[in-house]
Each structure stands twice: as structure tokens, then as C-alpha cells.
């Protein structure tokens, strides 16, 4: 541990604000000693708990399940417009009352395309963030993945790719179906290995065959 670990420059702006505003602020050396002790004690307790198997070693800090669309990086959530996020949530919730058919537009698809048309990159970030919270009707999410895949040019491809890739790992077969078809629509040979990987863990026979069909086409295009 370096000597600067707990000096003032290491304090967060929030810590500094609390220090500055409190008339009963403790002396700096007392704070530092207290922090070292607390950190040591926390490490000791956590280590003991892990060794006895009482807590899983890699629990999400907020106790929130994120197996669906786990956030790829902390930068994904950063900068998502909360109003846009609410719009996405409303859109997906309304979509749950619709019945989707292949090849047919829906109120959901029209609204989704309108949102993507006006705020492409921001909307994709908001959709990714929304999906990272395990929310959404699986059928609506599946439908969204099919539309998201095809919207926009190379500039938004990394975001769309990331959303689809997470969809492949969903516990809902219908969401995985949407993700596979999304990759099929992209028709990009770079998805080949990703799909083969998904094929390994896929349990639904129909989805296994669909992955094989899409992968075979991509293999042929390489």
C-alpha cells in the first residue's frame, strides 16, 4: 500500500464536500487511521466469509442480477439520457400488449424505428441500458433485437453488435431467437465464431438448427 492511498488527494469530491461542510470534521490523521482499520477489518471479514462459502466471491456490489445483457463496460451506462431511458422503458412496456408477425410492422416497430431515427446512438445506449436491468417482456425484446440489428450504418454497428451478443446469452429462448435472427440479418461473417460458441451452450433443438443454418451461410460468405 502506498503512502498516498489515504491522503487528501485520494479523497473523492463527495468526501471533500462533507469535510468542508461539517463543523465537527475529525482531524485528518484520525480519519486516515480509522479508514485503514476499517479497510483491514472489511477485508478480514470478507475473506473469512468467502473461505467458509457463506458468500459467493464475485457478487455484484448492488446485489442485482445481471445475467441478462450484463453491462459490457461501465462506459455503456455512463451518459445515458434518463428521459430517453424512460421513453425506451415505456415503449417496451407498451409493446407487451402487441402480437407480432414475421414481415409485418407493428406499433412497437414503428415507434422503435422512429426513436432510432431521431437519436440513433443515444437510443441504442438507452436500449442497452434498459436491457441490462433484466427488464422487458421477452417477446418484445426478441422483436426489438430483430429491428435493432438492421438499423443504421457502420457507425452504430458496435453498439448493435454488443446488444445482439448479449441477447445470445439470455435465459429466454425467444430472446436468443431474436438475437440469432439479428445476426442473420447482419449477414456479417465476423459473427461466425460467436454463433458457434452460442451453439455449444444452446439446449433448444430448434435454436441449435437455426444457429447452424445461419453459421453455414456466414461460413460460405467468408
Amino acid at each position: 500500500m502506498s503512502n498516498t492511498d489515504f491522503n487528501e488527494t485520494a479523497l473523492s469530491p463527495g468526501d471533500k464536500a462533507i469535510q468542508a461542510e461539517s463543523s465537527t470534521a475529525l482531524p485528518q490523521d484520525t480519519i486516515e487511521t480509522s479508514r485503514r482499520r476499517a479497510k483491514w477489518l472489511a477485508a478480514l471479514v470478507l475473506g473469512a466469509a468467502i473461505s467458509t462459502g457463506q458468500v459467493p466471491p464475485f457478487t455484484h456490489p448492488y446485489g442485482r442480477r445481471r445475467e441478462e445483457f450484463p453491462a459490457e463496460s461501465s462506459t455503456l451506462a455512463a451518459g445515458v439520457d434518463p428521459v430517453l431511458l424512460q421513453n425506451v422503458k415505456d415503449l417496451f412496456e407498451k409493446g407487451a400488449s402487441e402480437f407480432f408477425h414475421d414481415g409485418m410492422d407493428s406499433n412497437f416497430s414503428r415507434s422503435l424505428l422512429s426513436l432510432l431515427g431521431s437519436r440513433a446512438a443515444d437510443a441504442l445506449s438507452a436500449i442497452a441500458e434498459y436491457l441490462s436491468g433484466n427488464e422487458g417482456n421477452p417477446e418484445v425484446v426478441s422483436e426489438a433485437l430483430r429491428w435493432v440489428a438492421e438499423f443504421g450504418g457502420p457507425d452504430t454497428l458496435p453498439k448493435r453488435w454488443s446488444i445482439l451478443r448479449r441477447g445470445l446469452k439470455s435465459r429466454f429462448p425467444v430472446v436468443r431467437d431474436g438475437a440469432i435472427l439479428g445476426f442473420a440479418a447482419l449477414d456479417d461473417p465476423r459473427a461466425h465464431s460467436l454463433l458457434l460458441e452460442a451453439r455449444e451452450s444452446e439446449q433448444i433443438r430448434e435454436l441449435q438448427l437455426l444457429i447452424e443454418r445461419v453459421a453455414a451461410r456466414l461460413e460460405h460468405r467468408r
Binding site: F99, D102, E206
Partner: protein, 159 residues
């Protein structure tokens, strides 16, 4: 053997998910969403035993949508219809592929027969999906060969 094809959304028909229902002598409700009748008729298409016209039939069905999209289907042997007492009528299709329209059929259904059909499809049907890029290629090929009119190109690009 005469194979019949019905357009569906494939995920509503996963056998693994239907298995517990079938074991309880019941069926899931979701597949009924793909069995909408008009005047007690359900549109199906005949597919050759060697399946050589499968993609062409799916293409004809897909062209009935607003745009070319991934299209799911369920395929089953018409022999099962007899046991369920379901009549098959040969009615000309109305797709853009005039040469395919002769393969169109209608199943004559009642409520009970619809239930029996759903059950036999879940037990004996085989589902699949032809992806959008495959259909786009098939439409392009159809236009080139004259099976489809030039106007189909608009749907190919989603317009």
C-alpha cells in the same frame, strides 16, 4: 406423402417447451396465435416430398407480408389430417409467384378440429425459419428467372 406448410413464428412452437403440456394431455396456448382462420379455413401450402420447392413456397408466403423478413414455418405430413377428420381443399393461392399458387390449400376447421390440428402439429410437425438474407437472395433469383414480377424488388429492400 404430401407435406403441408403453414407460416408461423417459430419460437411459439418449441417442442421442448411444449413437452410438459403434451405429457399432461394438453397443449400450450401460444401456437394458436399462428392458426388464425378466415371463414373456418386455414391457409397452408403443399411442399414436395423431396422439399425441392420449400424455399419457393416460403418465399411466396413471405411476399404476402409488408416486407421481406425472416419467415418461420411448420411442416407436417397430411396423413395426420385424416385421423383428425380435417378436410383439405385445393384453392388457388394469391401470391406474387403465379407458378406457386397451385400449391396452395385450405384446411376446413371447426373449434374442435383446430384444437386437434394444434396438437398434431406439436406432435408431428417440424419447424424451421428461412432467414431474411436467404429470402432476399431467393427473391432476387425469382425476379431473374421470371417467377416473380419486378415489383417484388420493393419488398426486397423493405419498402
Amino acid at each position: 406423402m404430401v407435406l403441408l406448410l403453414r407460416k408461423i413464428k417459430q419460437h411459439r412452437w418449441y417442442k421442448e417447451l411444449a413437452k410438459p403440456f403434451l405429457e399432461a394431455d394438453d397443449i400450450p396456448a401460444d401456437p394458436f396465435g399462428d392458426l388464425q382462420t378466415t371463414e373456418n379455413l386455414l391457409s397452408v401450402w403443399e411442399v414436395h416430398e423431396d422439399r425441392s420447392n420449400l424455399v419457393r413456397v416460403v418465399r411466396a408466403v413471405a411476399m404476402g407480408g409488408q416486407r421481406i423478413d425472416h419467415t418461420g414455418y411448420i411442416l407436417f405430413d397430411s396423413v395426420h389430417l385424416d385421423a383428425a377428420g380435417i378436410e383439405l381443399q385445393q384453392n388457388e393461392g394469391r401470391s406474387d409467384d403465379k407458378g406457386a399458387n397451385g400449391w396452395h390449400r385450405d384446411l376446413v376447421l371447426s373449434g374442435k378440429k383446430l384444437l386437434a390440428l394444434a396438437k398434431l402439429l406439436l406432435e408431428h410437425g417440424e419447424t424451421g425459419t428461412i432467414t431474411k438474407p436467404e429470402l432476399v437472395d431467393a427473391v432476387e433469383e425469382g425476379i431473374r428467372s421470371g417467377e416473380l414480377p419486378e415489383s417484388c424488388r420493393k419488398k426486397r429492400s423493405g419498402g
